[in-house]
């Protein structure tokens, strides 16, 4: 197992390096950080030259990249080329906001998805099972950006109109009401609900399908028949002998999704103006701010790698039959 961890990290390092080089080239070739200043007619050519000089934009690309890499390895993320704000505090805030949203969505989806899967597996072929299957197909086919807009329309406009409310029950954008200070849990939850719901639709669909399939397999296993034969209560059979085994594939999927969430909420966060990793990435890409883009990609890629590894470890932990050589 230790060998697996070591090997994964040995593979991960060149992967991360390659990613950073490619994204450096990509970011720098697409847009340039001084574009914003350049479009301002009052800024003279000398000012632009001085600006480029200060940021080291005139150095060769190799030098720029190596300088960034050297600082990065020493834990210095530097300052944004555009806003001159320190990068790390921005990333930290964005990471936290994304984690709050993603974690809520994933935990909610896991609980709901697993429950649906178990119920559907136990009443296979029933009306309920067919309904769950149909709903899962809808969830998987739903363009999430459209669903998000429809939710905004529904909660922000239709519901308010129909019931003559003063304001929306669930807020359709932002992370907290403007002007509020301090921490108001209800207010936060009302902002969190809709984006979390958008993310959950697809996740619930995936988890419920996984859970249903593996639960069917688990309940057909011999040891479950033995458990029933020796007279255990059905509830005990389902929970202790069925679900415990059936949860294994879903759990690894859960771990993988957690890794993907860190950089995977771009669209939802943009639509709901959630100040997470997504908007930060799009803004930085727009302005060619590679000082922000590169650590962003390092963090999200690392999250994927670490959680994939975690998924494999969870697997060996939950299923003792599997051993990695």
């Amino acid at each position: 197992m230790i060998a697996l961890v070591v090997r994964r990290f040995a593979v991960a390092i060149p992967l991360l390096l390659a990613t950073s080089i490619l994204s450096f080239i990509a970011t720098r070739s697409v847009s340039s950080p001084e574009a914003g200043i350049r479009s301002n007619p009052r800024v003279s050519a000398e000012d632009i030259a001085r600006y480029r000089e200060q940021l080291g934009l005139d150095d060769s690309p190799t030098e720029q990249y190596l300088r960034w890499l050297g600082n990065f390895l020493q834990g210095d993320l530097g300052r944004s080329l555009v806003s001159n704000r320190e990068v790390w505090p921005q990333l930290r805030t964005a990471l936290w906001n994304t984690t709050v949203l993603g974690f809520t969505a994933i935990v909610f989806s896991f609980v709901v998805g697993v429950s649906i899967g178990v119920i559907a597996a136990r009443r296979r072929g029933s009306f309920l099972d067919a309904g769950a299957t149909g709903a899962a197909f809808f969830g998987l086919s739903m363009p999430n950006f459209w669903f998000a807009i429809m939710l905004q329309l529904f909660f922000g406009l239709y519901l308010v109109d129909w019931f003559g409310l003063d304001g929306p029950v669930l807020f359709t954008s932002g992370m907290r009401s403007p002007g509020t200070t301090g921490f108001d849990l209800m207010d936060r939850l009302r902002h969190l609900a809709l984006p979390a719901l958008v993310l959950s639709v697809q996740l619930i669909a995936v988890y419920s399908r996984f859970m249903r399939a593996s639960m069917i397999d688990a309940l057909n296993a011999d040891h479950v028949r033995v458990a029933r034969a020796k007279g255990l209560r059905e509830r005990t059979v389902v929970r202790r002998h069925g679900m415990r085994n059936a949860m294994i594939p879903v759990s690894t999927q859960l771990a993988n999704d957690m890794g993907a969430l860190v950089g995977g909420l771009v669209i939802t966060e943009t639509i709901f103006q959630w100040q997470g990793m997504g908007p930060l990435f799009l803004d930085a890409l727009q302005s060619g701010d590679y000082v922000v883009i590169l650590p962003w990609l390092m963090i999200t890629a690392s999250a994927v790698i670490v959680f994939n590894l975690l998924a494999d470890l969870v697997y060996t932990f939950l299923d003792p039959r599997i051993r990695y050589a």
Binding site: A26, T27, N144, V206, L265
Partner: protein, 323 residues
Amino acid sequence: MLSRARTGLGEAVEPGEPPEIDEPSMSDETREPVEPVDATEAVTQARMVWRRFRRHRTALVSAVILLALVIVCLAAPWLAPYDFTDQQLSDQFSSPNSDYLLGTDSLGRDQLSRLLYGGRVSLSVGFGVAIVGGVVGVAVGTVAGYLGGFVDAVLMRLTDFALALPALIFLIVAARIFGDSIITVVLLVSAITWMGVARIVRGATLSVREQDFVMAARATGAGPMRIIVRHVLPNIVGPVVVNLTLTVAAAILLESALSFLGLGIQPPTPTWGNMLAGSKGYVQTAPWLVWFPGLLILTTVLCVNFLGDGLRDAFDPIDRRDR
């Protein structure tokens, strides 16, 4: 939205069963309840698949709807009441009425006409990606699986790398570099969706390669190319077709997500995705501009997914519903 779906969760996860459990089996013939095998074997296989597919009502209905959508969009030049670029500024933001069946947008363009033409683009991207991604996936999978060794190791690491890329982030960056023509978008989306097919094909090739009939073919002097084309490919048609349908769904979703962020195919060429993007500022004043493109994307992807599910059942001789 997230993972692999990589559509954000990004990628369309196979709706059926978890991949770990659902390794599609190849040799249909071996497990099929005995059917007379004669010179018309290929016909028999197709007929059996069709018979099983027909039983899957939802898939059949989906196939019909999908076909209708394709035909209607192909016939756009004859069906569309207006040109998709025609602007009637005096009629901007008309709600659906008898002149404009689905209303008009911010420039007074007829939404129905734009949806029809947009459908051509969106559907072309979906099917184009399936073709390009399918060819690449089959090529990589067969070569890796058949040759094995070093080639296999290199190709599979490449596959792993591509799988580790977050699809939407890759597309956002790549679209900015390589531009946004339809061809580019098809190629870029293919670049991020060929791996599923490659893995399936490689696995199947590995197992077929060890079969006696392949050894027999090799003994009679057949080269790798001939063995791949004549013996391996026919055995993996089912899983590949199923995976390609799911690729169509994923591609349509990815293209529309990319367009939605303003990075995909650019206006005035309409796609369902960029029509949504263009109208997101008018959600409150002109909700019909948001309703219809989204509904079309949803319907199309839903039908493709149901179709894929039906095909999976049809190609897989073990009836999963009876299990």
